[in-house]
Amino acid sequence: MTEAVPHYRVAVIGTGFAGIGMAIRLRQAGLDDFVVLERADDIGGTWRDNSYPGAACDVPSHLYSFSFALNPGWSRTFSPQPEIRDYMRRVAGEHGIHRHVRYGSDVKAARWEPADNRWRIETASGTVTAQFLISGAGPLADPVLPDIKGIDTFEGRLFHSAEWDHDHDLTGRKVAVIGTGASAIQFVPRIQPKVGRLSLFQRTAPWVMFRHDRDITRLESWLYRNIPGAQQVARKSIYWGRETYILGFAKNPRLLGIVERLGRANIDRSVKDPELRRKLTPTFRAGCKRILMSNDYYPALARPNVDVVTDGIVEIRPNSVVTRDASGAETEHEVDTIILGTGFQVTDPPIAHRIHDARGRSLAEHWGADVQAFRGTTVNGFPNAFVLAGPNTGLGHTSQVFMIEAQIRYTMEALKYACRNRVDRLEPRAEAQRAYNEMVHRSMRGTVWVTGGCDSWYLNEEGRNTTLWPTFTWNYALRTRWFDPHNYDLRRIRSARRDEAAARSAV
């Protein structure tokens, strides 16, 4: 025996909605023997890191929150990031989660040790072991830095929107923004009035809808505070309203023609220049990429200090970005700041490179391009491990927290089953996982995400959608309502050890 490695029943990775929600449910179930591993020094995950100007949720706040912690105090229908981060801190605080969190514990590697029936988890702050490993690392955790020639040679300031440099004053600067995804359309309108010149490098134009964002009235707040259930009614109406989007996305993409008309109207309202209109009008079916929501994105692009560049970037030089148009002519755009709105490593999450099975093969190697899990949560070959916000549990139309809570419930049911039946190891059967994923991909056929004619972060290299849940979210919630032991290999280890001990003591 060398140094004593702390052992826990459960180790949770991350303190985003998944990690906090999981920790709260564990405590509520009376399981206190767990640790939460957090790489930073504060909780909040994606909502802590993405503090760029204008960061907000594009799902209404009444829905984008824990079902057990409705907040009558939201200030806006679509709350800004600081409010969401505070909300998460308060919910975690009220449940005393901080006591369980090990900060500065970036997980370097986790390895399954079959002989001891436990996970050995190496973190930046030392090693811990745990019988169950729950990853709440999430897909929007690690930024993508694009592989553009010469990006290292840039002499100005370059940063990703998820690692916003708040000390860098943008006033009067010549700024390049690369990417026009959900982050970029939120921060571009905020920085546009400040900067001297803004060049927006766009590969594919997104569909941007009008957002009905408004202050929550005092009357509403009063109702939520005083009438029990009033906020639940608001929440459920938003949920079912949002759920109808699936009829267009998955059931009949032709319905999305209506959305496209609204999107074009949104462009025409703010942009008068026909050339710019053409650049900003998407060429694919609405919904294929995430539909974005903003009221000030198009008006900002119509301002004289903004230049929308649709030519591909070929090179970054110390003081400029170089693009090449269809005819092969190169243009040099002089800039002193580059902001990357290039998104996250979704289809190849870094945490999958750090979780290893008994033979040392990582989850990423095990998956290859075909990321898959059983019910989006457990993976054959990786016993006693649960992946929250796992494969095919993402959403394009409604609250991710809803899916996370469904997964948490499923994980809790599995843990309860294991405790009640003294099961020490559970692992989904390969054939159950295969059948489940065939079902998912069958439902994916005909949806806008694969037929819409675009390449998005939802798709893997083979063009399969391994990110999104393909149908109604209540369907997923029902599938994960109860634990299904028949789909698992269950083993009892300790009883065997106990028998040995009994045999020894008998001799």
Partner: protein
């Protein structure tokens, strides 16, 4: 919010204090910065304004710290059920003590009803032991609240059940009206309360959100702080009212039996549950007395 009128209203300094779990509390500090400090904790479903009549009658040289309990007044309302509990009350009081009382200084804490429970729940905390020189508890109890209550005039278990429902119902009250004023008068006031006092009480209660009120009521029905009360070592005065239906005199005597350093159990004839509104003179006098006897003036 209902403003509170005091003689030294100009000096009111408003603070935001974060409790241990991050809940933001509204704190008001009044009076001279170098005076002996009194920390006042208010009761269920009112706000710090319920101490107004007492503050107005206190010695002008006292520094008075008032705060809104979570879910009341201008403090944040907990988001989840886990945010309510006697442990949280104690967290909040300790956070206020740490934020407003300089290291090494001793203070008087006074609590009315749920504010008294706050003080009793905080007794085992180190911050409390370090900074509290004297304790005043009025119209409060530490155990068996629903069973001892005589608010619902039904026999035995029915009365207990009635009290329990009354405490936990998150019933919205709507705007203040004569009917609710009558109900409050019956439930919480003694016979001698005048019209202005009754109206102030109704306004305070109407100001409190129905949901947090019900959640706190749930905490009150399961209250059991006997062990914690035994650990109050500071000199203590307990006040009870003969007409208090929510925390009858039994509670005052019970607390008097438990605390280690009892000065007095004061039984006020004709007093209902709202001591700070109904008998502010007596409470102000007791505060002044405790301060003079036990709260050392600053070693300046």
């Amino acid at each position: 919010m209902i403003p509170i009128a005091t003689r030294h209203v100009d000096h009111a300094q408003e603070l935001q204090v974060h409790s241990a779990d991050g809940t933001r509390l509204h704190v008001e500090v009044r009076g001279p910065a170098d005076g002996p400090t009194v920390v006042l904790s208010h009761c269920w479903s009112t706000s710090l304004a319920s101490w107004g009549p007492v503050v107005r009658r206190l010695d002008e040289n006292l520094r008075v710290v008032l705060y809104d309990q979570r879910g009341h007044g201008r403090s944040q309302t907990p988001l989840t059920r886990a945010g309510y509990g006697t442990g949280k009350l104690a967290d909040d009081l300790c956070a206020v003590l740490e934020a407003t009382v300089p290291e090494g200084e001793k203070v008087l804490v006074a609590g009315h009803s749920m504010g008294g429970m706050t003080i009793m729940a905080s007794a085992p905390r180190a911050v409390f032991r370090d900074r509290v020189a004297a304790v005043l508890l009025t119209n409060t109890g530490c155990t068996d609240l629903a069973r001892r209550s005589t608010a619902i005039p039904l026999p035995g278990p029915l009365g207990t059940l009635g009290s329990r429902i009354f405490l936990t119902a998150p019933l919205p009250l709507g705007p203040a009206n004569p009917v609710s004023a009558r109900i409050f008068k019956y439930l919480v006031m003694g016979g001698g309360a005048d019209k202005a006092t009754r109206r102030l009480c109704a306004r305070l209660v109407h100001d409190c959100g129905g949901v947090p009120r019900g959640e706190w009521g749930r905490v009150l029905t399961t209250l059991d702080l006997d062990d914690s009360v035994r650990r109050i070592t500071a000199p203590t005065i307990v006040v009870g009212g003969t007409e208090d239906k929510l925390t009858p005199l039994w509670h005052a005597r019970h607390i008097g039996d438990l605390v280690q350093n009892l000065e007095e159990v004061r039984e006020i004839p004709g007093l209902g549950h709202m001591g700070p509104l109904e008998a502010p003179e007596v409470l102000a006098e007791l505060v002044d007395k405790l301060v003079v006897a036990h709260v050392a003036p600053r070693s300046a």
